[in-house]
């Protein structure tokens, strides 16, 4: 909430800051209808980011909105930046990122390379087992086991694609050379 004072003699006045200039009563001290508005802007975010900005605006003007416009440019930029940062950190921390289930990317690759029947009978079944074991480990809160399951099934997927033979061939070539 802001405070209103006389723009001439700075006598504090009990007046609505949003009142129109025509409706103002003259200052009881000096009779002036000019006003001085003080506003405090404060913004804070709890969680991963904490930004707190506090400005006290003092402007000699008839309109409270002009007070904000009369902020120095650096202060305006800082206020805007702090608001944007606060909003961004709220968005990041409040919503969880969408995660793909294991094997989704590999399924997309084999969908492109192999026939639908092969994908249905071999790769989708493998991924179904993969997810079954992975989520069982996650439910049991065994993170390392879940990682190991991902590694094992990733290798199994490559074996099913026939790529394991390519790797063994490559290793033979490297050994011979």
């Amino acid at each position: 909430m802001g405070s209103v004072a006389c723009g001439n003699c700075r006598t504090p006045l009990t007046e609505d800051p949003s009142a129109r200039a025509e409706a103002r009563r003259p200052c009881h001290n000096c009779g002036s209808t000019r006003r001085h508005f003080s506003t405090v802007i404060s913004e804070s975010v709890s969680g991963h980011a904490s930004v707190s900005t506090r400005f006290i605006l003092k402007a000699n003007t008839n309109n409270p909105l002009d007070a904000i416009d009369r902020l120095p440019p650096a202060a305006k930029r800082l206020v805007g930046l702090s608001l944007i940062t606060a909003l961004w950190s709220l968005v990041q921390s409040s919503g969880k990122r969408l995660q793909k289930p294991p094997g989704s990317t590999l399924l997309c690759i084999v969908d492109f390379l192999y026939s639908p029947a092969t994908v249905e009978r071999i790769f989708k079944q493998l991924v179904a087992d993969w997810r079954d074991e992975y989520f069982a480990a996650v439910r049991a809160k065994r993170g390392w086991k879940a990682c190991w399951i991902n590694i094992c099934y990733g290798w199994c997927f490559l074996k099913a694609m026939g790529l394991s033979k390519a790797f063994s061939l490559l290793s033979r070539v490297i050994r011979r050379s």
Partner: protein, 108 residues
Amino acid sequence: MSRSTDSHMVLSQKEAIIIDLLRGNESPLFGLEIVQKSNGQVKRGTVYVTLQRMEEKGLVASEQEPRPNPEIGIPRRRYRITGLGERALNAARAARAAFSTNLVGEEA
């Protein structure tokens, strides 16, 4: 017998293990269950490739598991042995037994 039917009677070691496991179980099995019951003889990476090959030969048959409507995810397939698969396994065992008998006989 035609040559193609004769070729169906030739079972690889993994195929024989899978058919044996399916025969020993009353209900159809999932691929992962076959891997777990085989005690490491059948691997996860090769079980479905082998099962698909066996299904093409007619040794096993598969069906999709029934799922209630709200459930999401990839539906899994269950596998069961066919009559041809049982005959193929019996023939393979008989051939192995005859081979080992002849070998012992020759050694004697």
